[in-house]
């Protein structure tokens, strides 16, 4: 008998037990989702800049210039990546852009050791916990938000959900999950040494969120 049959056999032979009913639980809602998101994301050490759909590449150039960022990795074929490449071609003073345009095996050294920053879009945000939702794609790979020491994420204000419960329900996640779905709340951190917070232990040391305000505000 295989291990599978033996384990399932034992479990099925066990006395039946009725599952309890699922008690109701009301996840919180927030009158001002943006304010809650900002408060929680900043508490987890993310830096938020309010931008517009038109000015964000120029704003990003200033932010990166002030930090002395020497290279920025982007994802060609995504709205955000293509917009930045157009902006750079138009003369916006961005640092040299590196394209994540082939398999990680061919880019490993640049990704692991060289690139200073990575830029991704987001699927949305969660106000309750100040969380970014990322569903990496073939165009926008998983490691772009993980290996460079600085992660910049573009978040549209009108994609904010109250809670993860709302995001999962409204987005119909259960109908089809991507290879990898991610929730990110702040930069990489640890408190394994004497409960002292230290940032950037394996992932990004810094997280910058460009919050694209709704039109007309």
């Amino acid at each position: 008998m295989s291990a599978r049959e033996a384990i399932l056999g034992r479990l099925k032979a066990a006395p039946a037990r009725p599952g309890p009913p699922l008690p109701s639980w009301t996840p919180p809602t927030y009158p001002d989702k943006t304010a809650r998101f900002r408060q929680m994301a900043e508490a987890s050490h993310a830096e938020i800049h309010d931008v517009t759909a038109a000015d964000w590449p120029a704003r990003l150039a200033t932010i990166l210039g002030n930090r002395g960022v020497r290279s920025l990795m982007v994802a060609p074929g995504t709205a955000r990546g293509d917009a930045l490449m157009r902006a750079a071609a138009d003369g916006v003073p961005l640092p040299p852009l590196v394209a994540y345009d082939r398999a990680v095996e061919e880019l490993k050294d640049a990704l692991v050791h060289q690139v200073d920053a990575g830029l991704t879009g987001t699927l949305g945000g969660i106000a309750e916990t100040g969380t970014l939702i990322l569903w990496p794609t073939a165009q926008e790979p998983r490691l772009l938000s993980l290996l460079p020491p600085l992660h910049i994420a573009v978040l549209e204000e009108d994609t904010l959900h109250d809670t993860l419960a709302a995001a999962v329900r409204d987005g119909g996640w259960a109908a089809g999950m991507p290879t990898n779905a991610l929730l990110i709340s702040g930069p990489s951190k640890t408190s394994d040494i004497e409960q002292t917070l230290a940032y950037g232990v394996h992932g990004p040391k810094e997280l910058i969120i460009l919050l694209v305000k709704k039109e007309g505000e």
Binding site: A3, R4, A6, I7, L8, R10, L11, A14, P15, R17, G19, P20, P21, L22, P23, S24, W25, A103, K108, D109, H113, E128, T129, T131, T137, A138, P141, R142, L143, L146, T163, L164, A165, V168, R169, W173, A174, M177, T179, N180, A181, L182, L183, I184, S185, P187, S188, K189, T190, S191, D192, I193, E194, Q195, T196, A198, G200, V201, H202, G203
Partner: protein, 496 residues
């Protein structure tokens, strides 16, 4: 009364190492260790409390979390089959292991077939349960821990002392000495940022060159075939994304039915564990790299480990143990754990949850003393986010250790080595106790005799010395409580 757990009765079990009561004095007499734990536990308790300011919301959320896990357990075999079929459809290869030896063999086989020589690991208590690193090392495969706490204890050649913060027993100075000794080119530094940066440098190269990544799983979602992993450092994401092969290991009790079910558990776990509203990363993996995708492992495996869990499942009361989501709130709030630290338990899972889990997984012969290392103060039950009645189960296991559940048509003696703690002396003492307590006249005679002559019994008398070894001898008053009560007129009063 637990003579066998003490030194007097020779509680040493050479095949299992020294027992709890023999190990505890070393920890209790180590002021540095006690300071390290006290400080850490105080911090964790305060941070958790701050996350649940509204008792009504906490109660509602925890009812939901407990129900989600209880419902999943009520249909465990069906959910495991659904999980397997959905994972398989997603391209994940699923393996089943009855024992930790089988699980080790499965992992080794996957690695050898892939020609892997080096492995980078995310934190996984199930892999600790398997002693996986040692197994791989014996077969020429190097496994490097990448969680900072796990990395520190791997360098020190130790085991985790806490299931969430594995190196909580060490302070900064001890870690600084360790790094200076083990990491080439690094001097002594008391700066936590520098220590962290040194670990990042060393481990980055390990990640880039590893042939495979191994991780645990927090929740396995049957409905979608998804493995959910939570962490703060990013090492879990790296271990499951950068190497070409990912092997996840998990216990069969980690399955939940739907993605919606994960939501309340995710709201409970980090808040209860470290007092965070959410961890930095929640990583949901539903398959290997698809054609056209540029990163992620090209093969993903899941090893489902039983190792005693299906045995625990046989008993409807004990099966509540399997609701555990490994948040460690029970140990953070345990007055015993805080004073002796995790290593005193000499088990993979220390603290209250370990005291009920270890005897069930390993048997009462190996760990029958563990349920006694408790004051039954109920703190663990109050903070448990999935409402495991730990004190009730401690009492149940104490009973099983002396008088195992008898086999009937509907009931199996499910706890391995039931009766292992039974001792003739203890049985005699209880028989004498019953004799005296059920006969009022005899009771009056014995208590009066003790009131008159009890103080003449020397501290070194048999039985008495088990108590007085570490405590002052109790003094008998000249009059018994019953006599005093009668004098005050509480004659045979029945409480209302």
């Amino acid at each position: 009364m637990h003579a066998k757990g003490g030194v007097a009765d020779g509680g040493h079990h050479p095949e299992h190492g020294p027992r709890f009561a023999e190990r505890a004095p070393d920890a209790l007499n180590n002021p540095q260790l006690r300071r390290n734990f006290r400080r850490a536990m105080d911090g964790l308790m305060a941070k958790r409390a701050a996350q649940f300011p509204d008792p009504a919301y906490w109660a509602e959320l925890r009812e939901r979390g407990a129900a989600v896990k209880a419902r999943a357990l009520s249909k465990l075999p069906e959910l495991l089959e659904r999980l397997e079929s959905n994972l398989t459809a997603n391209g994940v290869q699923v393996h089943w292991a009855e024992t930790t030896d089988e699980a080790n063999a499965i992992v080794l086989d996957i690695l050898q077939r892939a020609g892997a020589r080096t492995v980078i690991k995310g934190k996984s208590m199930v892999s600790e349960e398997m002693h996986l690193n040692a197994h791989l090392e014996r077969h020429g495969i190097e496994a490097v821990e990448s969680d900072l706490g796990e990395y520190i204890i791997q360098l020190a050649g130790e085991t985790p002392s806490h299931i969430v913060m594995p190196c909580i027993h060490k302070n900064k100075d001890e870690i600084s000495d360790l790094f200076a000794e083990k990491i080439p080119g690094l001097g002594r530094t008391g700066d936590v940022d520098e220590l962290t940066a040194a670990a990042r440098r060393v481990l980055r190269d390990r990640f880039a060159s590893a042939d495979a990544g191994i991780s645990g799983v927090n929740f396995a979602v049957a409905e979608t075939g998804t493995l959910v992993l939570i962490e703060n450092e990013g090492n879990g994401r790296l271990s499951t994304t950068l190497p070409p092969l990912h092997i996840a290991v998990t216990g069969i009790e980690k399955v939940v039915e739907t993605l919606d079910d994960v939501v309340p558990l995710l709201a409970l776990l980090p808040r209860s564990a470290t007092g965070q509203p959410i961890t930095t990363y929640v990583n949901m993996i539903s398959g290997p790299r698809k054609p056209g995708e540029k990163d992620g492992p090209t093969a993903v495996h899941l090893v489902l480990l039983d190792a005693g869990r299906s045995r625990v499942y046989q008993d409807v009361e004990l099966a509540d143990t399997l609701r555990c989501i490994r948040c460690a709130a029970c140990m953070n709030h345990c007055p015993v754990y805080t004073r002796v630290g995790g290593h005193t338990y000499n088990a993979i899972y220390p603290g209250p949850i370990g005291k009920i889990l270890t005897p069930q997984l390993q048997g009462l012969d190996a760990a029958g003393d563990q349920p006694h290392a408790s004051t039954l103060c109920n703190a663990c039950a109050e903070v448990c986010p999935v409402k495991i009645p730990i004190p009730d189960l401690l009492v149940r296991l104490r009973r099983e250790a002396v008088r195992p559940t008898e086999e009937t048509a509907t009931h199996l003696p499910v706890v391995k080595d039931g009766g292992a703690e039974r001792s003739r002396m203890e049985s005699l003492v209880w028989a004498g106790w019953r004799l005296v307590y059920t006969r009022p006249l005899l009771y009056r005679m014995v208590t009066r005799a003790l009131a008159w002559g009890g103080n003449w019994v020397p501290a070194s008398a048999p039985l008495m010395r088990d108590w007085t070894r570490a405590r002052a001898k109790p003094r008998f008053k000249p009059r018994t409580l019953h006599d005093l009560a009668r004098e005050r007129g509480y004659l045979n009063e029945v409480p209302k």
